[in-house]
Amino acid sequence: MIVKIAYRGKEYDANAGTTLRDAVKKIGLQPETVLAVVDGKLVTDDTIVREGMQIKLVAVISGGAL
């Protein structure tokens, strides 16, 4: 089963049953650079991806700010 993960206006596929950490790595992102929000709540990256989850990754790196 494929679950969609939203990140910076795009959608990526993740396999249900894997951890968010593995899903993030599969997308090609460093786990340290994103936070995962599932169904509107912040979660740790050992969370198992399940069907029906609304998953959004929040980038944590910024540059040029004060």
């Binding site: 929000v37 929040v58 540059g63 040029g64 700010a65 004060l66």
Partner: protein
């Protein structure tokens, strides 16, 4: 994963601290950490008037939230840079800064660079021909000048910025790769007001990971600008942050260790402060501290831009936009 404190569901796992916390405990834990660093580096006390520089981003708004929760006296300063980037970056960041200030009944000073001085930052970069097509150099110069001037003229005893550990480690890495001795000597959690006209600058988040600040903003429900500055895309700072995060991934705590080891080395006398101290004096025109002989870089930059745009060459003696600025005590 379980919260170390209460056993509830953790929302953040900080591998560098071997600590996982739930939302409620995290929202308490992070301000306690910031309080520790404020005290350790003797940044300011509750008797001080702190000017908080805000950009509408997670770090500065998150820090402002922490400082008011800790009971510090703070006013905000927002600098409107006139950056659009196709999505109204500056307009959005100002609106979010104002929204935060209004919701918490805080004073926010706003300086719009175009209204006050005559051009936006991107326009300034093109006219001045500085920064190889990127406005970051002139942007930094303007922000440093305006922040210092507002802090000093407003009688604030400290100017706080939202620089986090990742910002500090990225700059440290760049300065180390270049062996930029002068910059390395001046990089610190506190930059003292070493001469008249210079504001005391403090970085209460210098030991807080960028990831921790993003998590804090989410947990606290702070509405911040998610998009980074459009001109920061592809910047050296972001590149360095990515490299450091690769290290962090393999060795949790590597970024923190890099920064803390640097501070300890400095404390132990690795760098010669006297040999690298810049010779500061007052700008002949505006009176702000400068290393340049005669007029400061800010005055010379704006002279050129005003001449090209056919504007009066006189730099405003006062920041007209700051009608609510309190008088120095």
């Amino acid at each position: 994963m379980k919260c170390r404190k209460c056993g509830g569901t953790a929302v953040i796992n900080m591998r560098q601290h071997k600590l996982a916390l739930c939302a409620d405990d995290y929202a308490v834990w992070l301000p306690e950490q910031v309080q520790r660093w404020i005290e350790k580096y003797e940044m300011f006390t509750r008797a001080d008037k702190v000017l908080m520089a805000v950009s509408g981003g997670k770090d500065s708004l998150g820090l402002w939230d922490i400082l008011i929760r800790l009971g510090y006296q703070t006013d905000g300063l927002y600098i409107g840079l006139g950056i659009d980037g196709g999505f109204g970056y500056s307009d959005q960041s100002r609106a979010l800064s104002q929204k935060f200030a209004d919701e918490h009944k805080l004073t926010l000073h706003v300086v719009e660079v175009q209204e006050t001085y005559g051009a936006t930052i991107p326009e300034l970069a093109v006219i001045s021909n500085r920064g190889h097509g990127k406005p970051c150099s002139v942007c930094g110069l303007n922000k440093r000048y305006i922040m210092n001037r507002v802090a000093h003229d407003g009688g604030y005893t400290a100017l706080a910025t939202g620089h986090n550990l990742d910002d500090e480690a990225a700059v440290l890495m760049q300065n180390t790769l270049n062996w930029a001795g002068g910059y390395l000597v001046r990089q610190a959690p506190v930059l003292p007001a070493s001469m008249p006209g210079l504001a005391r600058k403090v970085k209460p988040l210098c030991r807080v990971y960028e990831r921790e600040m993003a998590a804090y903003a989410i947990v606290r429900g702070i509405d911040y600008i998610y998009d980074e500055c459009p001109h920061a895309v592809g910047s050296t700072t972001i590149y360095n942050k990515e490299l450091l995060n690769q290290l962090e991934e393999a060795r949790p705590g590597a970024k923190l260790q890099f920064y803390l080891s640097f501070l300890q080395a400095k404390e132990a006398g690795l760098f010669s402060v006297k040999a690298s101290e810049p010779d500061l004096h007052a700008c002949d025109r505006c009176g702000q501290p400068t290393t340049a002989p005669g007029d400061c870089s800010f005055c010379r930059l704006w002279d050129k831009v005003r001449m090209v745009k056919g504007l009066p060459t006189q730099v405003p003696a006062e920041l007209a936009a700051l009608d609510a600025l309190p008088e120095a005590e």
